[in-house]
């Protein structure tokens, strides 16, 4: 763990001042329900952000707007210099830069682990099959699951499936990784293996946005913790400050609920 923190601090100095994600006055409604209220957020390259908040606060919707799984209705979102609009080409270009890991893994059950990982490189990046397989095995090795490459997702445990899902996203060599509650559908004993994988990824300098209630993970890894409630960003701060000296009453109440359980 010490070594990990050392790596993290070392990366701190390498961090460029390049803006990866820019959100300005982003608003979204589901019918009459205002899910995202005037969100302003800037994420720098290599930054690791944890987003927390009560359910229904709009945190998942926020990150799903970044790769257009949800469309925002007002405001601007710029990802790696490309503005998200109705333009399908822009959306495709952004999706190639942004990897996503879901709460329920969403692996393709009819494909083997290896095929899950090679599908997008082969079809989206037009990579030769052999090359894609070598790449996939390399990433599967990194999430320590290469020995299961020829199994089907249904034969793996939840933790293993989620690690495959991470490898699948990494095979597209994304610049940004989005995690939508990656551990909340897992049995408790499997949470650690997934978090460890994410911590390693963070140590490599990946830009990460992570919706999670794993506050230990937030403390170790995050550069910034964002607290959302009722569609707004209520408070954002580096983890020590966020956990020790929360400014807002709503944040304090939320932390009180999740930390003293």
């Amino acid at each position: 763990m010490e070594l990990m923190e050392e790596t993290l601090t070392r990366l701190e100095s390498h961090k460029t001042q390049e803006v990866m994600i820019l959100m300005e006055h982003v608003n979204k409604w589901y019918h009459d329900f205002h899910v995202l209220k005037d969100i302003d957020l800037t994420v720098m390259a290599g930054e690791r952000i944890v987003i927390c908040g009560p359910s229904g606060s709009g945190k998942s919707t926020l990150i799903r707007c970044i790769n257009r799984l949800e469309a925002h209705q007002r405001g601007r979102i710029v990802v790696d210099g490309i503005e998200l609009t109705e333009d399908v080409k822009a959306i495709d270009a952004i999706r190639r830069e942004v990897g996503m890991v879901f709460q329920h893994f969403n692996l393709f059950p009819h494909l083997t682990v290896l095929e899950n990982c090679t599908l997008a490189p082969i079809w989206v990046k037009k990579m030769p099959k052999k090359e894609a397989e070598a790449l996939a095995l390399q990433y599967l090795q990194r999430v320590r699951i290469a020995d299961q490459a020829h199994k089907y997702p249904g034969q793996l445990s939840g933790g293993q499936q989620q690690r495959v899902a991470i490898a699948r996203a990494l095979c597209m060599k994304p610049k940004i990784m989005l995690f939508d509650e990656p551990t909340s559908a897992l049995d408790p004993e499997m949470v650690k293996e997934v978090l460890d994988t994410m911590i390693e990824l963070a140590a490599e300098g990946m830009t990460m946005l992570c919706v999670t209630h794993e506050m230990g993970f937030a403390r170790t890894v995050a550069d910034r913790v964002i607290f959302m409630d009722r569609g707004e960003i209520v408070e954002q701060a580096p983890p020590e400050e966020f956990f020790l000296h929360p400014k807002e009453e709503r944040t304090r109440r939320f932390l009180g609920q999740i930390l003293h359980h």
Binding site: N67, R68, L69, D92, R95, R96, V98, G99, M100, F102, H104, N106, L107, F108, P109, H110, L119, A120, W123, V124, Y152, G154, Q155, R168, A169, M172
Partner: protein, 363 residues
């Protein structure tokens, strides 16, 4: 491994008497039902078997050889060629056989899942075989094969042509309609819904009738479309509407997360559908698809309404011909048997396919 003894599951003894008591005589009502069933079997099975096999006439060359009291299968033997080929000229029938053989032999590599070039072979097969078969059957004078007009096609061969073309045409069209019905583009959605509801709302017999009687009225006089082609188009459009609804059922069963994961990876709409959604959705609805195919196979007999002599019509006509008058039971039993063979074959194949696909995911 450990010292604690592992318990074996209790052994269930299979005992004939016990099985009888549990399954057939477990109470007064079951006992009564068993006895009634046994009586009915004893009453009906021997005479039917006797008629079909033991008292039947198998050898001979005319109706004079038929014994009374049993079926006379000479009739079927004598007319077998007609049942298979209709009025296809006898000296050209080798072309039908060759077509059937090439369909089967060229398909063999598709069943070896280890073959590296299997996908390429499949594409080639579905593009090339129809052309080859059309050339063999129709000829059109190409490479010296004389034309055999579709009026002369008939019998089982015609039934198989209609069923195969119907299936091969209706499935892709049905898939497109199902996707269109779920499209977010209103124009496409409305067109697909209208199409599906229209064809589902009209009986096939009406569609066939209209294709042969009404359609020529709307077309310019010098333009005529072959009767068989019109029937084929009618069957394809009609069955596609049914298949579309079957496939839509499968599409609805796929969780939203699968679409999201495909999109998040950057797959396009058609890639997501073709690589992620449809392979799963079609697998789920294999029973429904095969059900539609079986119905289609039997519905081909309706082409009699526009004057095409399919397998059933050929058999029927043979039974009313003067030289074999009075042997209609043999004819219809034989027709039923042949239809059953094909339909049961499709059913068994679909079960085997389901099992194989389920196994590949679980093991």
């Amino acid at each position: 491994m450990s010292s604690s003894p592992s318990l074996r599951p209790p052994v269930v003894r299979v005992d004939a008497l016990r099985w009888l008591r549990e399954n057939l005589f477990s109470g007064p009502i079951n006992t009564a039902l068993t006895l009634v069933a046994l009586y009915l079997l004893w009453r009906f099975v021997p005479p039917v078997l006797g008629w079909l096999f033991f008292d039947a006439t198998w050898q001979g060359s005319s109706r004079a050889d038929c014994h009374p009291g049993g079926a006379c299968w000479i009739f079927i033997g004598q007319r077998f060629g007609q049942f298979l080929y209709g009025f296809y000229p006898a000296e050209e029938r080798w072309r039908v056989n060759l077509a059937a053989l090439s369909i089967i032999l060229l398909a063999v590599p598709l069943f070896f899942s280890r073959l590296p070039q299997r996908r390429r072979w499949a594409i080639g097969y579905f593009l090339f075989t129809p052309v080859l078969v059309w050339w063999l059957l129709y000829g059109a004078g190409i490479l010296g094969l004389p034309t055999v007009s579709t009026d002369q096609w008939g019998g089982l061969m015609l039934t198989l042509v209609i069923a195969a073309v119907g299936i091969a045409g209706a499935l892709p069209l049905g898939i497109l309609l199902a996707l269109g019905r779920r499209s977010q583009l209103p124009a496409i959605k409305i067109v697909c819904i209208t199409f599906i509801e229209f064809w589902r709302g009209v009986p096939l017999i009406t569609v066939l009738f209209m294709s042969s009687v009404m359609l020529p009225l709307f077309l310019p006089e010098q333009m005529s479309i072959d009767k068989l082609v019109r029937a084929l188009i009618a069957v394809i459009l009609f069955e596609a509407a049914y298949l579309a609804e079957v496939v839509r059922g499968g599409l609805q069963a796929i969780p939203k997360g699968q679409y999201e994961a495909a999109h998040a990876l950057g797959l396009s709409y058609w890639q997501s559908m073709g690589l992620v959604i449809l392979p799963q959705a079609l697998r789920l609805v294999i029973p429904g698809i095969v059900n539609t195919f079986i119905a289609l196979f039997k519905d081909t007999s309706l082409v009699i309404i526009i004057g095409l002599a399919d397998f059933f019509t050929t058999v029927h006509r043979a039974t009313v011909a003067p030289e074999w008058l009075g042997f209609s039971t043999e004819g219809y039993v034989f027709a039923a048997f042949v239809y059953f063979l094909f339909c049961f074959g499709m059913s068994r194949y679909s079960i085997a396919l389901e099992k194989r696909l389920a196994r590949s995911e679980k093991r």
